[in-house]
C-alpha cells in the first residue's frame, strides 16, 4: 500500500537520524559477518540506509526500526549474493536451504560445552567458527544470540516460519558448538 508523502522532510530527517542511524553499528557488524569483507559490508550498509530513506514512507515511525533495517539489509545481501554467484542456475546447497528445516529435526540433542573450552579461546577463533557455518545458519545465530531479536522478528526479517527459525537455530547452535569443541580439542583447551 503506497504511503508516499506521509512524512514532511523535517520528520523524515528526524526519523532517519533518531530512529535509523543509532543502529548503524549493529547493522555494520551483521553485514560484516554475512560478507566477511569490510568493503562489502560498507557497501551493504550504505545500500541499506539509502533504501531505508527512499522507502521511509512505508516505515511506521516509533516502531521497530532495527528489525526493519535488518530486513532491508538481509534482502540486499541475498540479491547481491545471487548476482555475484558464478552459476546462478545452480543452487549452492552449502549456503542456502539444503537442510530439512522442520520442527521434527529439532529433536536432535543439544551439544554440551564445557568451561575448559573457553579458557584459551579468543574472539577471532569464535568468529572464524561462526563464519564457517552456512550463511542461513550464521544469520539466525547473529539475529538471535547476538542481536537478541525475538523468533517472530527473525521470522519477519528472514521470511521463514517461526517453527523453521527455531529448528534452524537449534541446528546452527549445535553446529557452531561442535566446531568450537573440535577447535578447542585441537588447541589442547580440553
Amino acid at each position: 500500500m503506497s504511503k508516499k508523502g506521509r512524512y514532511s522532510p523535517e520528520l523524515k530527517d528526524k526519523i532517519f537520524h533518531e530512529e535509523f542511524m543509532p543502529h548503524i553499528d549493529a547493522l555494520y557488524n551483521f553485514a560484516y559477518h554475512l560478507t566477511y569483507d569490510e568493503e562489502n559490508a560498507n557497501d551493504l550498509v550504505q545500500e541499506t540506509y539509502m533504501k531505508a530513506f527512499r522507502f521511509i514512507d512505508s516505515y511506521d515511525a516509533g516502531t521497530n526500526a532495527k528489525a526493519w533495517l535488518f530486513k532491508i539489509l538481509k534482502n540486499a545481501f541475498i540479491n547481491e549474493y545471487r548476482k555475484k554467484s558464478k552459476k546462478p542456475t545452480k543452487v549452492d546447497y552449502e549456503d542456502f536451504i539444503g537442510y530439512q528445516d522442520n520442527e521434527e529435526n529439532s529433536r536432535v540433542e543439544y551439544v554440551d560445552l564445557r568451561h575448559e573450552i573457553f579458557s584459551g579461546m579468543i574472539g577471532d577463533e569464535v568468529t572464524k567458527a561462526l563464519n564457517s557455518l552456512p550463511v542461513d545458519f550464521r544469520t539466525v545465530i547473529l539475529l538471535c544470540d547476538v542481536e537478541n531479536f525475538s523468533y517472530e522478528e527473525i521470522a519477519k526479517i528472514t521470511d521463514i516460519p517461526i517453527g523453521t527459525v527455531r529448528s534452524r537455530l537449534h541446528r546452527a547452535r549445535n553446529m557452531l558448538k561442535e566446531k568450537l569443541k573440535s577447535y578447542a580439542k585441537t588447541m589442547g583447551y580440553q
Binding site: P9, I24, Y28, A41, I56, Y110, M121, V126
Partner: protein, 87 residues
C-alpha cells in the same frame, strides 16, 4: 556430573530453558523454568556455560566499529537527497 534426569526429561527441560534464554517465554513461565532447573545441578551448570558462551559470542561479533567515513558518506547522501527534494 551425572544428570539426575533421564535423557528425554533433560532434553525437554533444556528445550524450555532455551526458550527462556531466547526471551520466548512470559515472565511467569521463565521464572517457573529456572525454579525447576535449580533442582538439577548439572542443568544449572549447563545454563551457566550457555550464558558464558553467548557472552563470548556477543563480544566476538560486536568487535567491528563502523568506519566514520561510512557514517559521513551516508549522512551526506541523505542530505543531498533531502536538498534535491526527490521525495
Amino acid at each position: 556430573m551425572k544428570c539426575l534426569l533421564s535423557r528425554e526429561e533433560c532434553q525437554a527441560l533444556m528445550d524450555r530453558v532455551y526458550l527462556a534464554l531466547d526471551g520466548a517465554l512470559s515472565g511467569e513461565e521463565e521464572k517457573a523454568v529456572f525454579c525447576e532447573v535449580e533442582k538439577y545441578p548439572c542443568c544449572v551448570e549447563k545454563i551457566e556455560i550457555e550464558k558464558k558462551y553467548r557472552s563470548i559470542l556477543i563480544d566476538a561479533c560486536r568487535c567491528k566499529s563502523v568506519p566514520d567515513a561510512l557514517i559521513q558518506s551516508i549522512k551526506k547522501q541523505v542530505s543531498g537527497l533531502m536538498d534535491g527534494n526527490s521525495f
